[in-house]
Symmetry: C2
Subunit: 106 residues, 2 copies
């Protein structure tokens, strides 16, 4: 995958899909956080929320890696997790779509 | 202060006052956190809240040190910051109260 060639048009499609997935995941996290914050009634719950936010932040930082050498795996994972729909990848070469689908099914 | 002698009754008074201050500060933090959580509308604000919680947790962990060698300074600080009222220390020896008041004025 390291040697895979991404055309200018494909890079643009991948970037748009990637950014949309990130926005979607962050919006879901914000909503989840607000539910937890609203429900919190004690200090231990506050520290649980802090731990939760730290883990989520670290996971998201690691997951959203736009390097072209990682992109097939990353887009596959986003597809699997539902942050991305396959139609958002329309326009990518069939070779890449097949690999992304395979990565999504892992 | 290391060599200061705390009677059983004084230890009990100090412990009760210390615990009440901690409860008060944690309740204030919880309310502040809920205001921030309610106002958050974006991921950067989420990470700001995470940083805020981490700092508050660390500060509170450090501040609430019940070792008798630290207690004069700790109670003085809690008095200064308003987490404690002087009447909650009634029953401590005048020597200790004088030192706590002096620590509170630092």
């Amino acid at each position: 995958m390291q040697s895979m060639n991404w055309s200018h048009a494909e890079k643009k499609i991948a970037r748009t899909a990637f950014d949309a997935a990130l926005d979607k995941e962050l919006a879901a996290l914000l909503a989840d956080f607000k539910r937890r914050a609203l429900a919190a009634t004690s200090a231990p719950q506050l520290w649980e929320i802090e731990d939760f936010l730290r883990e989520q932040r670290r996971d998201i930082d690691r997951k959203y890696d736009f390097r072209y050498s990682q992109l097939i795996m990353v887009l596959g994972r986003l597809l699997r997790e539902g942050w991305l729909h396959e139609q958002q990848l329309a326009g990518l070469g069939e070779d890449k779509l097949a690999l992304i689908r395979r990565a999504a099914s892992l």
